[in-house]
């Protein structure tokens, strides 16, 4: 590993890990940020993927919206900075 600033991808990367949560697709799910009030689709979130899981941050204020950890025993999702999620239109 080289030591450098991690480069984020985006919420499209969470479609697979969140498959178990939704019957359709997570990337078009609309989320509201607790911190700044922005509402946006998951695809626009800034996602930092690491070996243990992924952290999705608000594209507006960088607050942590969602943390996803995939483990053989199951997938754990925490949504510390999400006021609500909506299936969208």
């Amino acid at each position: 590993m080289t030591a450098h600033e991690p480069v984020p991808v985006d919420g499209n990367a969470l479609a697979g890990p969140l498959l178990f949560l939704t019957t359709t697709d997570a990337t078009t799910t609309v989320m509201r940020c607790v911190t700044c009030g922005r509402t946006d689709v998951m695809a626009h979130a800034r996602v930092y993927a690491t070996g243990v899981g992924a952290v999705a941050r608000c594209p507006g204020c960088d607050a942590v919206l969602v943390v996803v950890v995939e483990h053989p025993a199951g997938t754990r999702v925490a949504m510390p900075g999400t006021a609500w999620m909506s299936s969208g239109g």
Partner: protein, 241 residues
């Protein structure tokens, strides 16, 4: 853990094709995986003999066929998975596939609006799938692909792009080395590269941008700066490992 409950399907490599010195196309047979929409991706899970697992997302370069997964992979410096896929993978090798995935970065072939595709390097992958599905569906929607690569040797499927059907424009941008006599000197994408008759903000094209995070953020900023509606600009960033 059962394969079905977590969405993973066993898949077998049935074909590979060298695209460039650093990239290769891989075709998998994946029973149980349905046909994808153009723009969608899959997650790939590789398991080493010692049980170590790695998961990566790859966009599909062709879509619409059940149980068939076509991806293009570019070798990323220090990438433990991409290096294996590009250089070591062989027909018959096994892995697991989850997908098709994503509903945001998708083009629907019944949409008649002009489409502007902006690709940086291997970000071509999902945009190629969109282009191919336009042809397969017999769509007449005007298409323009702006494809930024470092050098002529980095172009994926040059013959196919050269033979783009009527209604599809392809503009190649070189950032490091251009072919001899190429009118545009090598440099990074600018607003000028994104200007074309029929694809201006007033034409309200649907715009798809895919590439590295830096490329996507740069191109999206240029497009919104030109007056394109941010709601019509769909972006997909990829990392590298």
């Amino acid at each position: 853990m059962t394969a079905g409950s977590s969405g993973w399907h066993a898949a077998t490599v049935v074909g590979t094709q060298r695209l460039t010195e650093t990239a290769r196309a891989i075709t998998l047979s994946a029973p149980g995986v349905g046909g994808a929409l153009p723009g969608q991706h899959i997650d790939l899970r590789l398991t080493a003999p010692d049980g170590y697992q790695a998961v990566r997302s790859y966009s599909l370069v062709a879509t619409g066929v059940d149980e068939r997964v076509d991806i293009g992979v570019d070798r990323v410096p220090d990438g433990e998975v991409s290096g294996y896929l590009v250089d070591d993978l062989q027909v018959g090798d096994q892995m697991e596939v989850r997908g098709p995935l994503g509903g945001y970065f998708v083009w629907h072939s019944d949409d008649v609006a002009p489409v502007l595709l902006v690709a940086g390097g291997s970000g071509l992958a999902p945009l190629l799938a969109i282009l191919r599905s336009r042809v397969a569906a017999g769509s007449a929607a005007p298409f323009r692909l702006v494809y930024s690569v470092r050098t002529p040797g980095d172009v994926w499927y040059p013959d196919e792009l050269e033979a783009a059907p009527p209604g599809v424009e392809v503009a190649l941008l070189y950032t490091r080395d251009a072919p001899p006599g190429w009118p545009r000197p090598p440099h990074r994408i600018t607003a000028h590269d994104l200007v074309a008759d029929g694809f201006s903000p007033a034409d309200r094209p649907d715009v798809f941008v895919c590439g590295s995070t830096g490329f996507v953020e740069g191109a999206a900023a240029l497009l919104t700066g030109m007056g394109h509606d941010p709601a019509r600009i769909k972006t997909e960033r990829f990392g590298g490992a």
